[in-house]
Symmetry: C2
Subunit: 217 residues, 2 copies
DNA sequence: CCGCCGGTCAACCTTTTGATTGATCCGCCC
DNA sequence: GGGCGGATCAATCAAAAGGTTGACCGGCGG
């Protein structure tokens, strides 16, 4: 099927160089362009299209120091006509990260410590329109669907994330454009599912179970 | 002074590839070997020495998925006879990471998002026996020593640790055999020093600054 | 088409947390 | 030996968080 044209999006020059070296080492892989954040990624994508050049897969980091982050960029790319598949390649494997990426329309989720061959396979899968998940990620998703009664909804995970940053109920409400009453309702549900009865315990447990990242990480 | 021989230590193949590509792109830089964790780094170092090959600088990540971490490896390398300088190259710029690295004998601390030229200069400085700090890191250290009045007492740190496990004031009081009133007093002091006004923010900030371990870790 | 679930909101009440003030005790350093 | 800071405790008030009940809406699947 010819050469695969890849767009790299990562804020670390070192990581971009590494990915470029790794990918161009594979046959039929070619790095069409690179971007350091989500905004730049969109610009590159439209620029390449204007030139009539193909982009078969976008390889995207989630954490960006500045500018649009990976989730937002993934969602934005998905809105384009005949959008290329976006394969997430990141360091963290928490539920919150994974759920956000999947909701944004990512077609795969790989971890940076994966062996090169696994990454190569994931890129090929994504280009073929299939889903590619790191084994760890797949396991996590499986455990979620096998015990749905205790699984937190995406909204609840989102609440939990804001909770862990130290926001009050009122602040969370304002951030999400909902009422404080709704925040409390969500928290009661979260506490019930986690088996705790206050916010700090919820944060501790959620961090332990890798539902959310450690505060400030 | 001839070619600089560098030992790369990072658990991510992608990052190692990137660094190798970047470094070998510079004149007089050569990657002598690579290692995925601290144990492997020590093995590589002794192996190269047995072969009579030089290692002028060790480029070390702090976070390792498994095996000996960067701080331990740095300390271990420092114990060798005529040990090469260890330059830390990592993602995080938190107090505790930096202090731990410096205490372990690191001769520099750079961040992965630094431009290649800055990394090159840091490697050269380290090889010349000088200290190289990323601007961000230098700024953080300066701000810390200029404001010692915000330092937490050991007792306060202990409170903070229990706080992060999700205990209520009453539970903390029982755990420490003190009254709830005393717990409240401590918390007021902690909040004041950290510049926050509730326990979840205190946990988030303290975790961020690596004053305490992440909840449940 | 109806039921269920996720998300939203409100009222009400109890408990916990946070802020303030003021006090005692002890060890340490000048 | 007087001062200072850390740790301890108490009383009180205000604010935030937590628990309960009940309600409405929209989408999705049987």
């Amino acid at each position: 099927m010819g050469t695969l044209h890849i767009l790299l999006v990562d804020d670390h020059p070192v990581v971009r160089a590494g990915l470029r070296a790794m990918l161009t080492g594979f046959e039929d892989f070619s790095v069409a362009a690179e971007a350091a954040d989500g905004d730049a990624a969109l610009r590159e994508l439209t620029r390449l299209r204007a030139l009539g050049e193909r982009v078969d897969v976008v390889l995207m980091d989630l954490q960006m120091g500045a500018g649009m982050d990976g989730v937002a960029a993934t969602a934005a790319i998905g809105k384009l006509d005949s959008a290329p598949p976006v394969l997430i390649l990141t360091t963290y494997d928490t539920e919150a990260d994974i759920l956000a990426a999947v909701e944004a329309g990512a077609s795969g989720y790989m971890l940076k410590d994966a062996p090169p061959e696994q990454i190569r396979q994931a890129v090929l899968s994504a280009a073929a329109g299939q889903t590619a998940l790191a084994p760890k990620v797949a396991a996590l998703l499986m455990s979620r669907i096998s015990s749905p009664e205790t699984a937190l909804t995406p909204r609840e995970v989102q609440l939990l994330e804001l909770l862990a940053t130290g926001l009050t109920n009122r602040a969370i409400a304002r951030r999400l454009f909902i009422s404080e009453a709704t925040v409390k309702t969500h928290l009661v549900h979260i506490f019930g599912k986690l088996g705790v009865d206050n916010r700090t315990s919820a944060i501790a447990l959620a961090t332990q179970r890798r539902i959310i990242r450690a505060p400030g990480q």
